[in-house]
Symmetry: C2
Subunit: 348 residues, 2 copies
């Protein structure tokens, strides 16, 4: 099987390669009859132009690099899907690099030394392949300033950020504010919170939203109602148990991820409390499993898909030189399931 190129087509159609190119790209008028003849040959030989050669001349690859810290972490696939949706519409292709961070360094991603070289190599490879920009997808929101250098190629971070660089993140503060507002609307006033680790940005932001809502709705602020977990199921379990043992326990708990919320569910059940009758719970993340627990966890859904779309859009604008930098920060959405009801007191 001979490899066919533009000149093979030209030969068989009795025209020059230039004409073939013009037909292919509609760059110039070609007499209909000639055009038809050329197209017929192209069709017959099933010719497809070589994008590599094209790119070399045009200096455009229509390709961006996506660096995912770990595609197996729950937030990543949906973000990639969003990137795809926007990329496809603009005929952009995606060169995917998977850092496999989870498998490489476990949860020790705070210390970037362990993978900085690895990340930079990924960038370098992508640049060699002439990507027109890069999207970096984190597995935990944090500051990645200085991790990588893209030598002036545009980059957009999402689910993480870097100073002086574009990043797409959702609105954490608003999310927990909304969650509290929802609980208040159900009649709760004694609302506790189980936070993630306090060195985490989302934890701080979500706490801000909690605190702001407490203030605005003039709810009692009880330091005993604030627990700091480590994101793991067990910590949710233990901290919820502590809250329930309080003299005057909360009637609702906002928990900063579904994993800890699942732990809380277990704790409640072991203490003979029924969720939501005796205790209401709102989680975070809308992890798949939160729908299958009994009761299903009412939770804040992260706008991952939108983040992907917005990240790609922002990058595309930068690539195209469009100066409209309309970076939005999308909102979380409350998914109502079965873990919230009015407080017991209200039922009496």
């Amino acid at each position: 099987m001979e490899k066919i190129g533009i000149k093979e087509i030209a030969l068989r159609a009795n025209v020059s390669t230039a004409t073939v190119s013009y037909v292919l790209n509609g760059t110039r008028n070609v007499r209909p009859k000639t055009k038809e003849r050329v197209l017929k040959v192209i069709e017959e030989l099933n010719y497809r132009p070589n994008d590599i050669a094209k790119s070399l001349k045009s200096k455009r690859t229509n390709t961006i690099g996506v660096i995912a810290e770990d595609v197996t972490v729950f937030n990543v696939p949906e973000i990639i899907d969003g990137i795809n949706e926007y990329a496809e519409k603009n005929d952009m292709h995606i060169l995917l690099t998977n850092l496999r961070l989870q498998k490489r360094v476990g949860y020790d991603y705070a210390n970037t030394d362990h993978y900085q070289k690895h990340a930079q190599d990924a960038v370098s490879n992508l640049l060699s392949k002439q990507v027109e920009g890069i999207i970096y997808i984190g597995i935990h929101p944090r500051d990645l300033t200085g991790l990588i250098n893209t030598y002036n190629k545009p980059i957009v971070y999402t689910y993480c950020y870097a100073q002086n660089e574009c990043s797409i993140q959702y609105n954490d503060e608003q999310a927990s504010y909304d969650a509290i507002e929802y609980l208040v609307s159900k009649g709760h006033s004694r609302i506790a919170i189980i936070s993630g680790l306090m060195d985490s940005i989302p934890s701080r932001l979500r706490f801000n939203g909690y605190y702001k809502a407490l203030t605005e709705f003039q709810l009692p602020f009880d330091p005993q109602f604030i627990k700091v977990g480590d994101w793991g199921l067990n910590s949710g379990y233990h901290l919820a148990a502590e809250l329930l043992k309080l003299q005057e326990p909360p009637t609702a708990i906002l928990i900063m991820n579904d994993l800890m919320a699942a732990g809380a569910l277990r704790a409640a059940s072991e203490q003979g409390m029924v969720v939501p009758t005796d205790l209401s719970i709102v989680g975070f993340d809308n992890r798949e499993f939160s729908a299958y627990l009994s009761p299903g966890i009412t939770t804040m859904d992260l706008p991952l898909h939108d983040m992907g779309i917005l990240a790609m859009k922002a990058l595309y604008n930068r690539i195209s030189g469009t100066n409209e930098k309309t970076e939005e920060t999308p909102l979380c959405k409350l998914i109502e399931r079965e873990s919230v009801a009015g407080p017991r007191a209200a039922l009496k």
Copy 2:
């Protein structure tokens, strides 16, 4: 900022472009002093060769295309991760195409007419980009013969297959055989099965394994113990309820996915039966949520990561012309959690 190329380097180092190339690739001996000088300039200007130009000449892109039917479906990310692991070791890059099938056609993927053109376009684009091969990742195991034409570029299917093409799949029959063997080892003999849709390959294969195990272990074969679900939680719920209402209900149920198993769990609980004391359940898929239910579902873990590795390996061998076609079909692994115990009768 000037764009630097090999000739810029040559100029500054007072050598020819050929020499620079030889230094860069170690393709030929270069006098150490010259070499050093060249390397210094490269370092200073932070030069990186243009892979596009390289590819044009060498006709190798070190890039494969991965077509995922839908990256947001549970089995896909882990397969991609496996592909990455092997690809990275062999310096191969991945151009990812996401068909977004789930969002496009829902569960109507049996009728390929709806997306055949879309899939073929994806292949064509990838071929234009000169990928050296393609891996196609399905979202449901099925025959995709004739869906796409890769014009003799090597392709490997995984989590689906096509006639006369290489495909990597796990061993379904063995998996359900193993599950039954495990239940038997726990003392069960009245073992029911809730199957997925019967037009599905895995359903048939898993049923084969079930039947084979029944025969080998000389267990009673009761047609009433065979239920056919539709993979959804509700069907698991209803079918399990039916099984439990039997005169002589089974002491264990093998269920062909965790979703239906979750439904079964709910049915059991509503009938006041305790899992695993009164009823043992083994699921399939090892979906994330199966670990968080109470009790945690004992389930067959799919070797997704290995499938990714093997798919990439098989493709790599084809690309390299290595003739060792050692396609293995990896095995599922039983994940023991809390939904299995000895049968009630055995406890009496």
